[in-house]
Amino acid sequence: MTIRSFAKLTLVPDMQLFLQQIVEGLASGAIYASLAIALVLIYRATRIVNFAQGEMATLSAYFAWQLNQWGMPFWLSLIIVAAVSFVMGALVFRLIMRPVLGASDNTMVVVCIGLFVGFEAVALWFWGADPHAFPRIFPDYAWTIGGVRLTANNLGILATLCLLTVGLSALFRYTRIGLAMRASAAEREKSPLVGIPVENMLMLGWGLAATVGFIAAALIAPSLFLSPPMMVSVVIYALAAATLGGWDSLAGAIVGGLVVGIAESLCATFIGFIGTDLKVGVPFALMAIVLLARPQGLFGTSAVIRA
């Protein structure tokens, strides 16, 4: 037996594990990317980082679960709650964020932390702390290609992200509303001069973000189980993804999300100390490195301030 064949014997399973972890990482990365898209939508529109995005999404997921419990078909409940989430996001903007628009970053952070604590408490109030099983959106089916297992769930998650990306890009590029939203985000003071109802556009941005956040929650809820703090760590992943991508780019958020997902999956498998408990340290470390080395992110434009 030569050394080469021995090396081959041990390498093959490792390679398989490696590829398998990349597939898993891509799937969870797609979910982080969805939530990161929600964060970026809101940041682009209103320069607010919505720490409460995940908790709002958890509440939406609870709505869907409850409707389904009451006997509504799962698909119908998803569609209805997507609309409800939109209204919820728009209302949060109208009632809470609009009065503090233009305040300092710190004020916004405090308000968003308040929303974070508040929304989590609402979910705890109505549904308690016990985790609930959330139905899977995609069927339980799997293919094995070259020793790597591809589940319908993972592929479905990736397909959802693609649809989401195409849909949002089309909205922003080809529709009048999308153009008006981009204009309101870029020039809040001047857009009204050309007849754009800026506040409605910002509200629309918040509503869209809440719906996108709900999609992320509905995708991850089957594997995490539905509980009030379900999205707490997911928000960290999304923050890291958006920071990596540079906060003002949808493409950046998506690439960032996938990178964070793969990094998390690989580190948790191949670095013994991290394991499942400290997975959340991976996005944190990535975020710290990006902020240190390239604060504007990989895809972001660095703001030039004229003193």
């Binding site: 980082v49 305040a103 970053d105 710190n106 929304f119 400290l278 902020l291």
Partner: protein, 340 residues
């Protein structure tokens, strides 16, 4: 007597009343409440640190609970493993928390504002699982119990009273420290860095240095508070330092008023007693109230309870001055009478 001196007198009277109230706590309440007041005092120290950072320097940290935990664990470990005197562990607690503050502060300060919020938010989430994971040091979920310090022979009073006195001294020291720091040149540089980067820098304030110093001081105070908490509680475990603790401190700071020293006490009392009271109705109630408090205070009263009081005082002062001005004007109008 003019309005300004009335305000000063009212403030002094308020401080005296507060000091008196704090001193008679052990005589007025049963032991368990005295213990809770001691815990509230340690929280107040952590909140003071946060006020220094947020109110006087315009930065934010949502991870004060993590620095508090680091201080508590430091004290617990040095007391149990090395049998060190409890008072001597406190400077070490301050040191370790400050070092962590420095490590966190340096990368985050390169980009002001939001990045500091991200990093500290991440730290707040990461802290509790890390405390569980570092089992060789923290003993994981079991936690570390230590013997509460014995009452010295010269002290007439039981253990709870003694620990309360200790915390009161700690708080007085911290309040004095922050009061001293926010006045004079240091205070002016801190506030200049908060109000305008450009002006501060052109006046010779080294922005990065001042901000980093404020962040490290804030973390160090949380470490001091955590050390005291460990001594008072006699037990530390990840259970006491969940992510919500960091948000609790934020709530305490905002409620009391971020530029207030006495406000930290109001905030601390709220976060100690509200959850107990609210849990009788629903475990989610305190979270709901905290969330509402953070949002509503930001919308209507950004300066907290003490800020509201201060506004009232100022209004009172203006009214007094206005009355006096009217009186003088009346005199001048009826000038003939004066000339006689």
């Amino acid at each position: 007597m003019n309005g300004a001196s009335i305000e000063t007198m009212l403030r002094a009277a308020g401080c005296a009343a507060l000091a008196f109230a704090l001193l008679i706590v052990p005589a007025m309440f049963p032991d368990f409440l005295v213990y809770q007041f001691s815990v509230a005092l340690t929280y107040a120290i952590a909140i003071l640190g946060l006020n220094l950072l947020m109110g006087f320097n315009g930065q934010i940290s949502v991870a004060q609970g993590v620095f508090f935990a680091v201080g508590a664990y430091t004290t617990a470990i040095f007391m149990t493993r090395y049998g060190m005197n409890y008072l001597l562990t406190l400077p070490i607690a301050v040191l370790t928390a400050s070092i962590l503050g420095l490590l966190v502060g340096i990368p985050a300060l390169r980009w002001q504002g939001l990045p500091l919020a991200f990093i500290t938010f991440g730290l707040a989430v990461l802290g509790p699982p890390l405390a569980l994971k570092l089992e060789p040091i923290t003993k994981g979920a079991t936690g570390i119990s230590m013997i509460k310090p014995a009452v010295p022979s010269w002290f007439s009073g039981n253990q709870d009273t003694f620990l309360y006195t200790l915390c009161l001294l700690g708080f007085a020291l911290s309040a004095l420290f922050v009061w001293r720091l926010t006045r004079g040149d240091t205070g002016r540089s801190l506030r200049a860095a908060r109000d305008s980067d450009l002006i501060a820098e052109s006046l010779g304030v080294h922005l990065t240095k001042v901000r980093l110093a404020a962040f490290v001081t804030c973390s160090g105070m949380a470490g001091f508070a955590g050390g005291l908490f460990a001594i008072v509680n006699g037990f530390v475990s990840p259970e006491s330092f969940q992510m919500t603790k960091s948000f609790d401190f934020l709530v305490g700071s905002i409620v009391g008023g971020i530029t207030s020293i006495s406000g930290s006490l109001i905030g601390a009392l709220l976060i100690v007693f509200l959850p107990d009271w609210a849990a009788d109705m629903n475990i989610a109630l305190s979270g709901l109230i905290y969330g509402a408090v953070l949002v509503v205070m930001m919308l209507i009263a950004r300066d907290g309870v003490m800020g509201l009081l201060s506004t009232l005082l100022t209004a009172l002062r203006t009214r007094i001055i206005a009355t006096r001005a009217t009186a003088t004007a009346d005199d001048r109008l009826s000038g003939r009478r004066i000339q006689i």
